[in-house]
Amino acid sequence: MTPSLGALGLAYLRIGLTGFGGVNAWARQLLVEEKGWLTEQEYAETLGIAQVLPGPNALNCAIGVGVRFHGAAGAMVCGVALFGGPMALLMGIAALYDAYGELPLVRAVLTGIAAAAAGMVLGTAAKMTGKLRPSLPLLLVGLGALGMALARVPLPAVVLGLAPFGLLAAWWGMRR
């Protein structure tokens, strides 16, 4: 199913504006679950490439999705929509934070939201793993990425170090 350029732009505007705690979980929710424009596998592939490329993942991913449906125009619309909304909002928040950021009430609300956002990211990872049903070698590669990232191995090293194993595991899985 191919969304129109306008629908794609609106979707990314919403992804940007709802995207607390990084936008990838929100992008997956909308593109895969709500709209059904991409399958779980297609989204994960787009995100995989976006994470290997330099620059913000969310933007790379938006460009990948935009190009897939509407070429250069799609990339432009998705990228601008993703950043336009939150940028305007952030200016307002920055001003409010300067004025009210030290109030205990504001701190408490922000702490609760931060905790919920952390759970949201964890839940997304669990959900994707369940739906993709990885083979054992692929699962090990995923756990390797988790472990290395938690050990604060620099990201380019994680990606470049694990990519060959991922390729090997995928190639082995397809041959069978």
């Binding site: 995989g48 490439i49 976006a50 994470q51 009430l105 939201i113 995923g142 988790l146 397809m174």
Partner: protein, 172 residues
């Protein structure tokens, strides 16, 4: 060299280094803005970064907020363009390439193989965020409930964020 050009160049160098997004370039960003250019002090840097994290949208917007702090609206534009444009052009080229080659047999394992890395990295940011947000039994409870909610239902995650904010307001 004008200040705006300096901002553009500083964030432009960061752009192509930022494999993995905002959190990955944080140390280099700190080195450039605080130590090399002296545009802000330590405390300001961390507050601005936390603010961008708490707000919705891509975390890389931290760069925009810092540009704004250094030189107002023009600084915001310079930092954002510097941070986004080089990486966006590269992503665009690669996306076009993979789209055209999407039938090629050798490309499938390449795309497949990166999937677990992508999911593993999401899990890792979840763990790191949970470590930073889990300050007491209540925040751990919110983290647990929110994980289960997002994992087990397909309802919008906005519900747990609103719930987390409300619980924080009432109990923290």
């Amino acid at each position: 060299m004008s200040l705006l050009l300096q901002i553009l160049l500083a964030f432009g160098t960061l752009s192509l280094l930022a494999i993995g997004g905002a959190n990955a370039v944080l140390p280099e960003m700190h080195r450039l803005l605080v130590e090399v250019h002296g545009w802000m002090d330590d405390a300001t840097f961390s507050q601005l970064f936390a603010l961008a994290q708490a707000a919705p949208g891509p975390n890389i917007l931290a760069a925009s907020v810092m540009g704004w702090h250094i030189a107002g609206p023009a600084g915001l534009a310079a930092a954002t363009i510097g941070m986004l444009l080089p990486a966006a052009l590269l992503a665009w080229a690669v996306a076009g390439l993979t789209h055209r080659l999407s039938g090629a047999a050798w490309l499938k394992p390449a795309q497949f193989g990166l999937v677990p890395v992508a999911v593993g990295l999401i899990a890792a940011s979840g763990v790191i965020m949970a470590g930073a947000a889990g300050t007491g039994w209540l925040s751990w409870a919110i983290i647990g409930v929110s994980t289960l909610f997002v994992w087990r239902t397909s309802l919008s995650p906005l519900w747990v964020l609103a719930g987390g904010g409300a619980l924080g307001l009432l109990l923290l």
